[in-house]
């Protein structure tokens, strides 16, 4: 039992891959999640370089049709959510949904999902809230953005201000909690019954839940942006 707990904690731990010194003598530790993110980035960039080669306007091949259908679907989805004014944020949302989707199911390939590390989800949520508020300021101007906190009545202003912190916190914790939970459950199953059974549960915890969480994250961010630019 001791050994079981030990190995589970070892699996849960986000290891330091390497560290280096910075100008003031402090030590910067680069965590596993960041390194795996680099791997994911490399895979995505190489894949897109390969897939996007030789695109044609007329007579597209099967590969191009699949690619266009996929990207077109995501594009229309986010356009529909954020409306005409939100079009500029669509590429970012597509990037994030692809990244979180890949990060969540990378556990299938034996790597630890980066989204299991809270630093990554914090970064994602921070960028989301910055984007949401930026979109609001861009659309309404600083004055209009400040005024929008007092809507529909002035008395709800404190709650609206609180939302600036609540929204990213909920985004960050939802993603982190779901992925961590799924990871823990999968590790437990793998330690108890190492064959066949994990594959079945993996379909739910890694693929289904992982993609659902990616969807929920970008869906909520898009809704908030839509709300901010309305």
């Amino acid at each position: 039992m001791e050994a079981f707990v030990e190995s589970l904690l070892e699996e849960l731990e986000c290891n330091v891959v390497f560290e280096f010194s910075i100008w003031n003598g402090g030590r910067v530790q680069v965590l596993e999640s960041v390194v795996i993110t680099w791997v994911i980035m490399a895979i995505l960039i190489i894949l897109s370089k390969i897939l996007v080669r030789n695109l044609t306007i007329e007579n597209p091949g099967k590969k191009q049709i699949a690619l266009e259908t996929g990207i077109g679907y995501l594009y229309d989805f986010f356009c529909g959510l954020m409306g005409e004014h939100g079009k500029r944020y669509v590429p970012y949302m597509i990037t994030v949904v692809i990244y979180i989707g890949v990060a969540n199911i990378i556990g299938l390939f034996g790597m630890k999902p980066p989204t299991k590390d809270m630093n990554v989800t914090i970064a994602l949520a921070l960028m989301s809230i910055v984007l949401i508020e930026f979109a609001g300021i861009r659309q309404k101007g600083v004055k209009g953005w400040a005024k929008s906190f007092a809507e529909p009545v002035a008395i709800v202003a404190p709650i609206n201000v609180l939302e600036i912190f609540i929204r990213p916190l909920s985004l960050c914790m939802r993603l982190f909690g779901n992925v961590l939970g799924a990871f823990v459950v999968m590790e437990l199953i793998k330690l108890c019954i190492p064959v066949i059974v994990p594959a079945v549960f993996s379909c739910y915890f890694d693929i289904f839940d992982g993609l659902i969480q990616a969807y929920v994250f970008v869906f909520l961010t898009s809704l908030f942006i839509k709300e901010a630019i309305e």
């Binding site: 849960l12 731990e13 986000c14 910067v28 530790q29 680069v30 965590l31 999640s33 960041v34 993110t37 680099w38 980035m41 995505l44 960039i45 897109s48 370089k49 897939l51 996007v52 695109l55 044609t56 306007i57 007329e58 690619l67 266009e68 990207i71 077109g72 594009y75 590429p91 970012y92 597509i94 990037t95 994030v96 692809i98 990244y99 980066p114 299991k116 590390d117 809270m118 630093n119 990554v120 914090i122 970064a123 994602l124 921070l126 960028m127 961590l180």
Partner: protein
């Protein structure tokens, strides 16, 4: 796992920004560009097709109008030709009628003249004969009646023969 590390948050933010830039440049940009281009192409082709159809319709109405005009014209031409032909026919028939009646009149006149001439000639011949007969009777009082009659007949027959010419 639960350790919050400032630098790793910064790294992740940088990672995301780089990934965003790369995805936009290598994946989303080219694909949306090609989709937009195709959309443009299709739209321009549709516009072109509509234009061509419009031109074709215009041509068709022109042709139909021209065809109607041509029909009308041909009908007029045929009518005119028929009228002309009828007039010509009438004229020819009338002329022929006139000519024929003139010929007949002329022939009648000639016949009449001829007859009168003959009559006149015969009258003068008869008068001559009568004169000759009277003279003969005066000259040959002794001759018997039979001889005289035969002689008269022979003379008259000769005289008649020459007059007939």
């Amino acid at each position: 796992m639960l350790k919050i590390d400032f630098w790793n948050i910064v790294f992740t933010v940088i990672n995301l920004l780089v990934l965003y830039w790369a995805m936009k440049k290598f994946l989303i940009g080219p694909i949306t560009a090609i989709m937009d281009k195709r959309k443009e192409l299709i739209e321009s082709q549709l516009a072109h097709a509509a234009e061509t159809e419009k031109a074709a319709l215009q041509l068709k109405t022109d042709y139909e109008r021209d065809l109607g005009n041509a029909k009308e014209e041909s009908r007029e031409i045929v009518e005119k030709a028929r009228d002309d032909a009828k007039a010509e026919y009438d004229r020819i028939v009338k002329e022929a009628d006139e000519k024929a009646s003139a010929i007949i009149t002329k022939a009648n006149k000639t016949v009449e003249l001829e007859r009168q001439k003959t009559l006149q000639e015969m009258e003068s011949e008869i008068a001559g004969l009568a004169l000759a007969a009277a003279a003969k009777i005066m000259n040959d009082k002794q001759d018997n009646d039979t001889a005289l009659y035969n002689k008269f007949l022979a003379k008259a027959g000769d005289a008649n023969d020459t007059a007939g010419n």
